[in-house]
């Protein structure tokens, strides 16, 4: 049985640099596999709605007629199920986490609309 066996560790800590980071001034780089958030490339999306059906937290809303896709980043679990099931592979997993939102949550919704179709090429003479 020892007395004050913690003292060597406590003394060593006095001369060691802190074990924590001064967040948010020092932010650690995320690992490559870190599940941060999702994003979508609207140019490739066919608005099929599979991601919406498969999302466990119902964070994705797709309107096929209006060609809109939106994700509520606060509802999103970053489980990446949508990334797995997307037939066009246009949903992308990102390792950085979304920034904080205001109390109205308005900023948490990320909405994407299909880009307008390019104007038809002028008829060749």
């Amino acid at each position: 049985m020892t007395i004050a066996s913690m003292i060597p560790a406590a003394l060593a800590n006095l001369f060691r640099k802190p074990a924590t980071r001064l967040y948010p001034f020092t932010v650690r780089e995320p690992f490559t596999r870190t599940r941060g958030s999702i994003t979508m490339r609207e140019a490739e999306c066919i608005f099929c709605g599979i991601c919406q059906a498969k999302c466990p937290s119902k964070a994705i809303a797709v309107v096929r007629a209006a060609k809109t896709w939106q994700v509520d980043q606060l509802r999103c679990l970053a489980c990446m199920r949508c990334v797995e099931v997307c037939p066009k592979k246009c949903i992308e997993a990102r390792s950085d986490r979304p920034a904080p939102y205001g109390s109205d949550r308005a900023g948490s919704i990320e909405k994407k609309t299909a880009p307008a179709a390019p104007p038809p090429a002028p008829a060749q003479p």
Partner: protein, 357 residues
């Protein structure tokens, strides 16, 4: 006899999660402890019939933040049993590695909380600093610190290559000296021993009678561990950790020894990984029922799954270790001093999120 009733919890500095006891006191001595639970019931089991069985893994993992991997694994294993899926050996080995890593981080978390409960702040911070290394391993291999999302019905979502596994084993070996320094304080320090030894003794027979599980049971000298029934642990060199005394100090010792044992198990498995892929396709839908038992850091957990041939399960049920251990804590609290109550509650490693789901 004049008695006083003191409510302990649901908000209490020593309780990480809401559990409430009404303590009937005669002066400073507890005569009776009346528990009340249900503060964080979320109805996750009822979500099972409303979600596709493949997506329900994400919800099963969220039953609890500390045993999240075990819950995901238990759910998937039960569904795989129903569907009779031939899960690749490599996937099962990866599950063993992550399960043991979960045990390391859960026991480190508990040691820290225990140190905090008996007033050893410095020890608490040192323990959690080591836990941070384990969490980094999780984030690097699975993508999450707490919710891993790596397990799925039929295997694993992602593979972890052999070089990374070797690096993880080496990393764990390298933190062993620091770990030993910390655990020596738990095992040998005068203050810790005086605080815990001889406190709230539960004999082996009593533990059996009260259906206690996990480190709590093993600290009463009963060699009971669900891992002995798992084929994945059969070829490994390990034995069930037991301690004879049944007091709070024994429970602490069991967990300390299990940390080193888990690190050893990880090294063993990482050295002989199979190379037969990490997943099979879960074609069809579960039809039938299955039970699956696993050894969580806190004790034996039982999963029950019943499918009806559709993509939506009919029933999903979990019996969690904390639920099994609460009757023992009610018994242990009778006759102790009020000042010892938080420490005794903490030695069962209560996880109320698991218990109430």
């Amino acid at each position: 006899m004049k008695t006083t009733i003191i409510p302990l919890g649901p908000q209490h500095p020593v309780l990480p999660e809401p559990l409430s006891f009404d303590l009937v006191l005669d002066n400073e001595r507890v005569i009776e402890a009346i528990p009340s639970i249900g503060f964080i019931h979320r109805g996750l089991e009822l979500l099972a019939p409303k979600r596709d069985f493949e997506e329900f893994v994400m919800i099963a993992e969220r039953i609890c933040g500390i045993c999240s991997f075990m819950h995901g694994m238990g759910y998937c294993s039960a569904v795989e049993d129903v569907m009779a899926l031939p899960v690749p050996r490599r996937a099962l080995q990866l599950r063993v590695i992550l399960a043991e890593l979960s045990r390391v981080h859960s026991h480190l978390l508990w040691l820290g909380l225990a140190a905090d409960a008996f007033g050893f702040e410095n020890l608490f911070m040192q323990t959690w600093r080591l836990r941070e290394d384990v969490l980094d391993i999780f984030e690097e291999t699975t993508g999450g610190r707490v919710i891993f999302n790596i397990v799925k019905v039929g295997g694993m979502r992602k593979d972890v290559d052999d070089a990374t596994l070797a690096r993880i084993a080496a990393k764990l070996e390298s933190i062993k000296p620091q770990l030993k320094q910390i655990t020596d304080v738990f095992l040998n320090d005068y203050t810790v021993r005086n605080r815990l030894a001889g406190l709230a003794v539960l004999s082996g027979a009593q533990a059996r009678e009260l259906c206690v599980v996990g480190p709590m049971l093993r600290a009463s000298g009963v060699a009971e561990d669900q891992r002995t029934r798992s084929p994945m642990y059969a070829g490994l060199d390990w034995e069930v950790v037991t301690e004879p005394d049944g007091d709070c100090y024994s429970r602490c010792r069991v967990r300390v020894r299990e940390i080193f044992q888990s690190i050893n198990l990880i090294s063993q498995v990482a050295g002989k990984m199979a190379a037969d892929g990490v997943a099979v396709k879960a074609a069809g839908a579960p039809n039938g029922e299955a039970f699956f038992r696993a050894e969580q850091p806190r004790g034996e957990v039982v999963y029950y799954v019943r499918g009806n041939g559709t993509r939506f399960l009919e029933r999903f049920r979990v019996r969690t270790p904390t639920f099994a251990n609460v009757p023992a804590v009610i018994k242990l609290l009778k006759g102790v001093e009020l000042a010892d109550v938080p420490t005794i509650i903490l030695t069962i490693d209560p996880c109320i999120s698991c218990m109430e789901r």
